[in-house]
């Protein structure tokens, strides 16, 4: 069964088509990736799903219910947690308080939210830094904080926007393990946008490839890397000289 259904979604910015008639599904309990060259429309699709933008055409459903055109906070309440490609920590608040803000969505009570936030922080390896201000974190830790905050809202679907970018290979592998555990152990459905192919190949069960706002391929990682359309978009067309 599909948790997320994107059907014929289009979005233009002043006549420029960022996303054109894109359709894809994310299966319940799946771990899918959205890849494509720069400017392919990946982040626009994320913003359409997360409610930052409303699609010009098409439908987006979460567990069968229409969510396109709703506000980001309503979409969060519907069960989608997201991270930002350019991290947006609450810089003046402590690491714990950052996550408490997210945890206050499922937990109405502040002390219960604190407990939930502390567990998530521990899980993501930020336990030693919980009382530091978020502004003092390094970039890899800020990316972890993004994930922790989104997880704290108890999402059904987690959208990860380039959380591996800028990480060293060992840090990247740690993050891969975290997401794998979340997906396998906790049954969390994940959709990730990623440039780091090392992470995508290690994690994703299915991949959707975007190019110029259109879905040009979809399938398992093995299928996708052999797809001629994908090779062409990434490596360029062979031309006779």
């Amino acid at each position: 069964m599909s948790l997320l259904e994107v059907r014929g979604v289009s979005k233009s910015f002043r006549g420029l088509k960022a996303v054109a008639d894109a359709s894809f599904d994310v299966a319940q309990g799946g771990l899918h990736a959205l890849i494509g060259p720069n400017g392919a429309g990946k982040t626009t699709i994320f913003n359409l799903v997360a409610g930052v933008l409303a699609p010009d055409r098409g439908e987006i459903r979460l567990a069968g219910r229409r969510i396109d055109g709703r506000r980001p906070d309503q979409i969060c309440a519907a069960g989608i947690g997201r991270t930002f490609q350019i991290v947006k920590p609450f810089a003046g608040l402590s690491v714990l308080d950052n996550v408490v803000v997210g945890a206050l969505r499922p937990e109405r009570d502040v002390s219960a939210a604190k407990k939930r936030a502390a567990e998530i922080i521990e899980n993501l390896g930020l336990g030693a830094k919980r009382d530091l201000p978020a502004s003092s974190l390094t970039l890899p830790d800020r990316k972890r904080l993004e994930v922790a905050r989104a997880l704290a809202t108890r999402p059904k679907l987690l959208l990860l926007d380039e959380v591996m970018a800028g990480l060293r290979p060992t840090e990247c592998d740690q993050m891969v393990e975290v997401f794998r555990a979340l997906n396998r152990r906790d049954g969390l459905t994940i959709l990730l946008i990623e440039h780091v192919m090392r992470a995508v190949m290690a994690l994703a069960q299915r991949i959707v490839v975007l190019h110029h706002g259109e879905v040009i391929a979809r399938g398992t990682p093995e299928e996708v890397v052999r797809d001629p359309a994908v090779l062409q978009s990434y490596l360029g067309e062979e031309t006779e000289v």
Binding site: D73, R82, F90, D97
Partner: protein
């Protein structure tokens, strides 16, 4: 009892006993400090907690003052009934400003300009309301009384001091509770990054509206106090932008977003400002505007050396969190 709460209890006891030992001048200065501590606390809810800069808080002081004083002077409605009307009018004014700004995406300096605009055109508008005295002012009957008439808010300076003390203490307790509550977390999240706050499920429009309306409502009570304490109101005075600036200097110097910053800032500014004026007067120098020059210098010094205000570094030294 922990040391901070012991210190707070001691300060409270001291403030309760003050009228017994202080002369009329000292008592009036203390009342003024509490007034600015209270209005600063109210402004801090909006700016310090939720990150919405208001440069027009004189609007709420003025509306609160005029509504309650007008009802009292013209229709004989007592201040305890009138304050509810004043409260409702100010909350509605805050809601209108907030709705216009947040519905149409006005933020940052443009929001601040909107708050100034509302205060300014209300000031000009009140010059033309004849029933409230227009530019000539609205006056309440002054009668020097020794007996406390709390029901009509008429009485000796000590009574006004205690009323203001109760308001300031109530505001401190309210803000302390709010900061630890869900509202406090949500407001601070909005202040730090609104997009991220919304992505975490916070209805930012609703919570920003709540901050503005609460701040406006709290400030309206200071207006009611102002009217019955000073007994005269002029649009050019109560609504003037210099009033708005005076309200925000305390929390800025004490520490925006902190619980004790507004109190500390109000005390430091009022004591030093009045102290300098008095000191120079004692030397036989009457220099008009010396207080404003002094405010400017203090503001410069704080911005340069204590960009987060006096309270955060002081709290750190005392080993407190906020």
């Amino acid at each position: 009892m922990s040391r901070p709460s012991l210190a707070l209890a001691l300060l409270g006891a001291l403030l309760l006993l003050l009228p017994a030992v202080a002369g009329p001048y000292l008592l009036s200065v203390a009342t003024l400090i509490l007034f600015f501590a209270y209005t600063g606390q109210a402004w801090n809810v909006m700016m310090g907690f939720a990150g919405q800069l208001s440069l027009g808080h004189a609007l709420y002081v003025g509306l609160g003052a005029y509504v309650s004083a007008g009802l009292f002077a013209r229709y004989g409605v007592g201040p305890w009934a009138g304050l509810w009307v004043a409260l409702a009018v100010c909350v509605a004014a805050g809601a209108i400003i907030g709705f216009l700004a947040f519905r149409f995406g006005i933020s940052g300096v443009y929001f601040a300009l909107l708050t100034i605009a509302f205060a300014e055109f209300t000031r000009i508008g009140f010059d033309h309301i004849a029933v409230l005295g227009g530019p000539g002012g609205l006056f309440l009957k002054v009668s020097q009384r020794e007996a406390w008439d709390l029901a009509n808010l008429r009485g000796p300076p000590a009574m006004f001091y205690y009323v203001m003390l109760a308001l300031a203490a109530g505001a401190l307790a309210l803000c302390g509770a709010l900061l630890r509550s869900r509202a406090g977390y949500y407001w601070q999240a909005i202040r730090e990054n609104e997009d991220a706050a919304q992505a975490l499920g916070i209805n930012t429009f609703r919570w920003k509206m709540a901050a503005v309306m609460l701040s406006a409502g709290m400030t309206s009570l200071a207006g009611v106090f102002f009217a019955f304490y000073y007994n005269n109101l002029f649009p050019e005075q109560v609504f003037h932008i210099s009033r708005s600036i005076e309200i925000i200097l305390g929390p800025i110097i004490g520490g925006v977003g902190t619980l004790f910053g507004p109190i500390l800032g109000a005390a430091a500014l009022t004591l030093l400002g009045d102290g300098i004026t008095e000191f120079l007067a004692a030397l036989g120098w009457e220099i008009p505007g010396v207080k404003q020059v002094f405010y400017g210098c203090v503001l410069l010094a704080v911005i340069m050396w204590l960009p987060h205000g006096i309270w955060p570094p002081l709290a750190k030294r005392l080993g407190l969190r906020r």
